[in-house]
């Protein structure tokens, strides 16, 4: 277990530098005028230009620039948005509501995926199974830009079941609709993986043994099959966090939730380059850390990894 953690941590450090370098390179490498990339067509004053040049060390070499950027990230200094606010402060403000939104989404997605996935796998070929597969196909094909506004229109405005927008201090009920939209981004894949995994495990030899042991069907599935089947699903949830982050940008914009995604959207729209780079970098780090946690969870669930 210890060796696994150490190896995984080393990997993560490597990926951290790789990923942040990637983000930085995507924005600044081989650029005639990095300032223009940052601010787009937004007019800026000479003093702003000078401040940006200093902030991003644009007069230094590219690798030095990158080094200052990573140093900033690690010390929590994310710089200043073009609006003049500190990016770290904006992030601190926006963070809680996004966290709540994503957590609700994960719970919704995982519950539906695991319950329906297990039932589907047990009753393969049944009406329930075929209907579930069909619905997941539709959900899978729904881009978030379609789903979020349509859900708001149908359930928020036309039917009025949920408030069509949610504020900074939104409660669970207000966040339910946007969270469900967000959950739909990942629920289809999670469900399909659960179904495939349970179906595969149901055919495993150890299930035959469990039945030969005279265990009840509920225990065979709930204890023996489920634990094995959840291993790939857990890994998937790690990857899904990335999709949820991306989805949150559109969802928060549509439902007017002043979270991280909403700020990022506004940053893109107002050509606020420093804000975009800062927020994206932090999200990448959060993504990496969460994936590390998921991987450790994976090791807890699967002893074969633990004792490698």
């Amino acid at each position: 277990m210890f060796r696994f953690i150490v190896r995984r941590l080393l990997q993560m450090v490597l990926t951290f530098f790789g990923a942040t370098f990637l983000v930085y390179a995507l924005m600044f490498a081989v650029q005639d005028d990095p300032i223009q990339a940052l601010v787009g067509e937004r007019p800026i004053t000479d003093s702003q230009r000078a401040a940006l040049t200093e902030r991003y060390h644009l007069n230094d070499s590219f690798f030095q620039q990158y080094w200052y950027y990573v140093k900033g990230l690690l010390t929590g200094d994310l710089g200043t948005s073009l609006t003049g606010r500190k990016i770290a402060d904006m992030l601190a403000d926006a963070w809680p509501v996004t966290l709540r939104l994503t957590l609700i989404a994960i719970v919704i997605a995982a519950t539906i995926a695991i319950v329906a996935g297990v039932i589907s796998a047990i009753r393969r070929g049944s009406i329930f199974d075929n209907a579930t597969l069909f619905v997941t196909l539709i959900v899978l094909a729904m881009p978030i830009v379609v789903l979020a506004p349509l859900a708001q229109l149908i359930f928020g405005i036309k039917l009025g079941w949920f408030p069509p927008t949610a504020g900074k201090d939104a409660n669970l009920y207000e966040l339910l609709l946007p969270a469900a939209v967000l959950a739909s981004l990942v629920v289809a894949t999670e469900l399909r993986v659960t179904r495939a995994s349970v179906a595969e495990n149901l055919r495993a030899d150890y299930v035959r043994t469990a039945r030969a042991k005279g265990l009840r069907r509920g225990r065979v599935i709930g204890v023996h099959v489920l634990r094995n089947s959840l291993i790939p699903v857990i890994t998937l949830i790690g990857v899904d966090i990335g999709a949820l982050m991306s989805g949150a940008i559109v969802t928060e914009k549509v439902f007017n939730i002043p979270g991280v995604g909403f700020n990022l959207f506004r940053g893109i729209r107002t050509e606020d380059g420093p804000l975009v780079v800062g927020f994206v970098s932090v999200l990448v780090i959060v993504f990496l850390v969460l994936n590390l946690i998921v991987d450790l969870l994976y090791a807890v669930l699967d002893p074969r990894i633990r004792y490698e």
């Binding site: 790789g18 983000v23 924005m27 067509e41 094909a141 379609v146 229109l153 729209r269 780079v277 993504f287």
Partner: protein, 309 residues
């Protein structure tokens, strides 16, 4: 179907029977085509795709109106004449805009998928075939790419490419963004199927008979690893169309005078309370197009790999 799986896995009783059932042995591709022909999902996807392709190639077949012919006095006017979906907030014909929106979706989708497919093929094939340090390096690089959530990377790259003034409508920028960032899955799938194919006995035999790398790759390995790759690309095409719409919605995709479902949806979200039509129609067309490609990929994969059903 499930019966068959349970049987082969559960008990050895069918082992003596020849593969492919009652004595008929077909090639994998022929078998897949046989399954595919009977798949309703496959045909539904195909019909949808043909319609969208026609729309993209000859939009005038579907509407005589000009999507750029906007008259503010018609703002949010209801359906009239050929404008069966009414008018949007600028007084443009929603139906015409929706029909013309197919073009950029398809163009961006197809070309970005081609770029991603080529990069994925090159990376996956070389990593899988040559192995060793090259594989380690490329796999690490893919890991790093996967360390950045796709849309976040696309926002940064899209923003940067879009800031180039030569890109008036953003088509090139979006295509490049999606192509450069979207190849990882294709590469991974290609790599793993190349490794599987490489380790087959017949490939080892061909190698021992003195076949060179080129011959091994093109005659023996590629034909046996191309199916999952094609499936991934088909689905990627659908995903790229969705991503284009998302990026356009966010403002780092298509811009200016480009007619795009993503832009239409973005514009319409501000007016859903007064006029839901301009939101609904591009949404429906976009979802149907994405669905068609994902359905196609799904059907093809099922046909090639009945195990997954």
């Amino acid at each position: 179907m499930s019966d068959m799986n349970a049987l082969t896995a559960e008990s050895p009783v069918l082992q003596p029977a020849p593969p492919g059932g009652a004595g008929k042995s077909r090639s994998l591709a022929a078998d897949a085509w046989h399954d595919l022909r009977r798949s309703k999902i496959f045909w539904a996807a195909l019909v949808l795709i043909v319609i969208v392709l026609l729309m993209a190639a000859w939009p005038s077949l579907f509407t005589s109106a000009d999507p750029h012919d906007c008259v503010l006095s018609r703002k949010h006017a209801g359906a009239s004449g050929s404008a069966i979906f009414g008018y949007d907030f600028q007084g443009c014909d929603v139906y015409a805009k929706t029909v013309y929106g197919a073009r950029y979706s398809i163009v961006v989708g197809v070309f970005s998928t081609l770029i991603a497919g080529l990069i994925g093929l090159a990376v996956g094939l070389s990593a899988g075939y040559f192995g060793g340090w090259l594989d380690a390096l490329l796999s690490r690089f893919v890991d790093v790419m996967l360390g950045v959530p796709f849309l976040l990377a696309a926002i940064v790259l899209g923003k940067r490419l879009a800031s180039n003034p030569e890109n008036s409508n953003g088509v090139l920028a979006v295509t490049l963004t999606l192509g450069i960032l979207g190849w990882t899955t294709a590469a991974r799938v290609m790599r793993s199927s190349v490794i599987t194919a490489k380790n087959q006995d017949y490939v080892a035999a061909a190698r021992m008979l003195g076949a060179g790398s080129g011959r091994l790759i093109f005659r023996h390995i590629l034909p046996n690893s191309i199916a999952p790759y094609v499936v991934v690309l088909t689905i990627l095409l659908g995903i790229n169309i969705a991503s284009e719409a998302t990026l356009s919605f966010l403002g780092v995709g298509l811009r200016g005078d480009a007619v795009s479902w993503g832009i239409s949806i973005s514009e319409a979200t501000g007016y859903v309370r007064v006029a839901p039509g301009p939101l609904i129609w591009p949404s429906v067309f976009l979802a149907a197009t994405v669905l068609a490609f994902i359905m196609l990929g799904d059907a093809v994969r099922d046909a090639f790999d009945p195990k997954l059903r």
